[in-house]
Amino acid sequence: GAGVSQSPSNKVTEKGKDVELRCDPISGHTALYWYRQSLGQGLEFLIYFQGNSAPDKSGLPSDRFSAERTGGSVSTLTIQRTQQEDSAVYLCASSGGTSYEQYFGPGTRLTVT
């Protein structure tokens, strides 16, 4: 079946603008995760959804970052008033059942100029 999809694949924005990144998980997967990969860094956890609720938001770096998930499916990560340090690849993953195996999407490369 289809894997995790993310859009856009690339986003260039000016400092101070808001951006929305979208994730469409594997059908039937109840868990959804957002990670960030900055240059030279590993993947940094941002937020985890189980269904539509987010029991773990501990990785969101500031209140400029928010995320929502509707209908237990698509999720949107919003970054307000973007800063240059927000430039990174934003990865989404989903998992189902009890295996905890996370399936990753291709990512959105965000560049803030």
Binding site: A31, Y33, Y35, G40, Q41, G42, L43, E44, F45, Y48, Q50, P55, D56, S58, G59, L91, A93, S95, Y100, E101, Q102, Y103, F104, G105, P106, G107
Partner: protein, 114 residues
Amino acid sequence: AQSVSQHNHHVILSEAASLELGCNYSYGGTVNLFWYVQYPGQHLQLLLKYFSGDPLVKGIKGFEAEFIKSKFSFNLRKPSVQWSDTAEYFCAVKYTGGGNKLTFGTGTQLKVEL
């Protein structure tokens, strides 16, 4: 804080050489362990995982990893690498009681030369 260390950031090998990539994690009780691989231009894919049982786990493409609890390590091995193994390799840990998030190492860039 929970953390994962990958000691080798860049590794260059010739085809047919043996590979071992180190991964150590900070103590945090029971863990689930993963190795992910990212081939050039592709997204992250699971290579292998350890949940319980035999500490030597085998994954795809001839890779294996050994969980040594006393050393908090989960090193990745392959007896004979191929040019097509050129990729970035990430070790990841799920800590029980830490939610479902994965804590990743910073990755090891492997280049296999012909």
